[in-house]
């Protein structure tokens, strides 16, 4: 009733979507290694995921394998690229030209996986005009307008926590619909905007829970 069209397109669980890039990364590697065929079992062993899980995840999108044989590595890779919409290259706006911003702007791993830093912004007048690779750092004041005219849909936030929400607001105003947030703070955004968080401290703290505290450490 509340469906927009009659076809019953089942919504795919977000957790499945998050595993697809992991599969894609493994297939990329296999393809580079010259491997032509693989199986859900082999993939699963490499990734620490059950073979059934992998088959079921893929089955949401079609039938990509062949019984008795397995999957053609390049074909499945291309299908995943298509599903994830990374056969193209997405331009991204990077905000923050500190150490992290520099590392991201210079990162070689984006290009062949569907992404490209297309513009860099910073609030610090001393950093504006500075070159990072082939890019020039621009003022935060022109951020919204610049990304709107460039049609940029993805933003990366690499600024201190205090500035992050404001940056997010400006990105969204300029048309960004996906944000990768490195600032250690939960952002408030409209529901049509996706946010992924990267905070190394969160990752570390969830591991220390499991560590034996049997060594003497420097007290805080």
């Amino acid at each position: 009733m509340t469906q927009k069209n009659g076809s019953v397109e089942k919504v795919i669980p977000d957790i499945v979507i998050h595993r697809l890039p992991v599969y894609l990364r493994a297939l990329d590697l296999m393809a580079r290694q010259g491997k032509r065929i693989t199986s859900s079992q082999e993939l699963g062993e490499r990734l620490g995921i059950s073979s059934a899980q992998i088959r079921k995840d893929l089955s949401h999108f079609g039938e990509f394998g062949k019984q008795g044989t397995g999957y053609d590595v390049e074909y499945l890779r291309d299908q995943l690229r298509r599903i994830l919409k990374v056969e193209r290259v997405w331009p991204m706006a990077l905000v923050g030209a500190g150490d992290l911003g520099h590392a991201l702007a210079n990162y070689k791993g984006f290009a062949n996986r569907g992404f490209q830093v297309a513009a860099v912004f910073d609030a610090d007048p001393n950093k504006i005009g500075q070159r990072i690779g082939s890019l020039v750092v621009e003022s935060m004041d022109v951020l919204t307008e610049r990304i709107a005219e460039a049609g940029i849909r993805i933003g990366i936030i690499a600024v201190p926590a205090e500035a992050a929400q404001d940056v997010a607001n400006r990105l969204i105003e300029g048309g960004v619909r996906a944000i990768l947030n490195y600032a250690p703070i939960t952002l408030s955004v409209p529901q049509e905007v996706r946010v992924e968080y990267i905070d190394p401290v969160l990752a570390l703290q969830s591991m220390t829970y499991y560590l034996e505290p049997d060594e003497a450490e420097v007290p805080a």
Copy 2:
């Protein structure tokens, strides 16, 4: 029957453990803002998590709130620090002195959240001996021995994918039991070793799935 001792200590779901640092981060912020009391509802609204979820997560570890009032911000923060074992400062070994390694070594956000980069290693002879802040880059050849003698339990991998598995093996041999891996590859480790992965491309690719590809992009 298969329990080691008679007491029934229920295992806490890993997904719960992963939310605790998020709560801690929010409480840290509230404390800095001078807020003394909060509630599961307020916390939930800030974080986009249901209040029941937060209460149930916390209830695994004890009763920290007061009916009718809520939670004392500093008290709950301290309890979470204790649970996550971050009232101390954990020394970490950083491997890889490239752009990312530099950004991590200089990162100011570790210190007051329980972590500290205590040593930096790299394979490149040109980088060995180079200073990063107060640290000197050391050779990979001494990695295992150095971290063993320093009692370091946490390693950060910031090297190219090809080198990551070898680095992981050496870290583990030296006694590391928790690895934060920035290299875009799934590591193979013994089950007593924890690994958390940070790959911005994975995060980005799981968002592009949801983006409308209605703009013209540069073809790959």
